[in-house]
Symmetry: C2
Subunit: 127 residues, 2 copies
DNA sequence: CTGCATCCGAATGGATACTG
DNA sequence: CAGTATCCATTCGGATGCAG
């Protein structure tokens, strides 16, 4: 496979962005997801992650590599090519991420309802 | 139960602090854990969380309440008393947290090893 | 006791521009 | 293409002090 990544893979409008769960840095989980389908190149990752600047993406990738979540393979060609891929450890994290996503799917309604209820509450005892 | 919380429940030296997960804000997960055994009072939470200032704890609690993770019960007594307890939603999150902790337990070795390997690496191609 | 207000410092995340 | 370097804005966590 390794079909191109969908540019709208992480729609900013997606309500899951307000989920109370985070893996690593802000973009770590998304990178994990992007890498799920096979190795990806730096620029390739920037497509669905178009909100991230190269600097931040590089930092994220670097820390993920440091933690053994991904592998960086640089090919000394011209033009240069670098590929990032998931390690077994990264894959195992993916499972956890999946659990988190399940939770989100399952309880998003409650969450939204809770927020709505909370917002509509201030008219209580006091003012 | 509701026995007193252990002051060293979250030892700063605990290596799990470097884990790549986070639920909500920095302290959310710990509050969740503290509330696992039953309702707790504000000051009571400050014992194991002695590193957190009242302001931040209040903020954390507030946002957790907003998300329907906990319930805040204020008793208009003298002296004032306020108790926080987990909602079903909070409990369900606890399960997820548990999954995360399992992952940590299981893969912490890999993580530490990866970091060590990464640190010891810079002597590669170049200087 | 509870927890809000103000001010502050550190850390993140990011924009822009430049290099191998 | 794949980053790095510099600078900047915002946010976050926190210290201190005050109020109900």
């Amino acid at each position: 496979m390794t079909a191109g990544l969908q540019p709208d893979m992480f729609d900013p409008a997606c309500p899951t962005t307000v989920m109370p769960f985070q893996i690593g840095d802000k973009w770590t989980a998304m990178v994990l997801l992007c890498l799920e389908g096979g190795p990806r190149r730096f620029t390739e990752l920037r497509v669905p992650l178009r909100r991230v600047t190269p600097k931040v993406l590089a930092e994220t990738l670097r820390s993920m590599e440091r933690d053994g979540l991904i592998t960086r393979s640089a090919y000394d060609e011209n033009p240069p090519r670098v590929e990032y891929s998931l390690t077994p450890l990264g894959h195992s994290l993916l499972k956890l991420l999946d659990a988190a996503r399940s939770w989100c799917t399952e309880h998003m309604g409650d969450l939204v309802a809770a927020r709505a209820a909370f917002t509509a509450r201030p008219a209580a005892t006091g003012s």
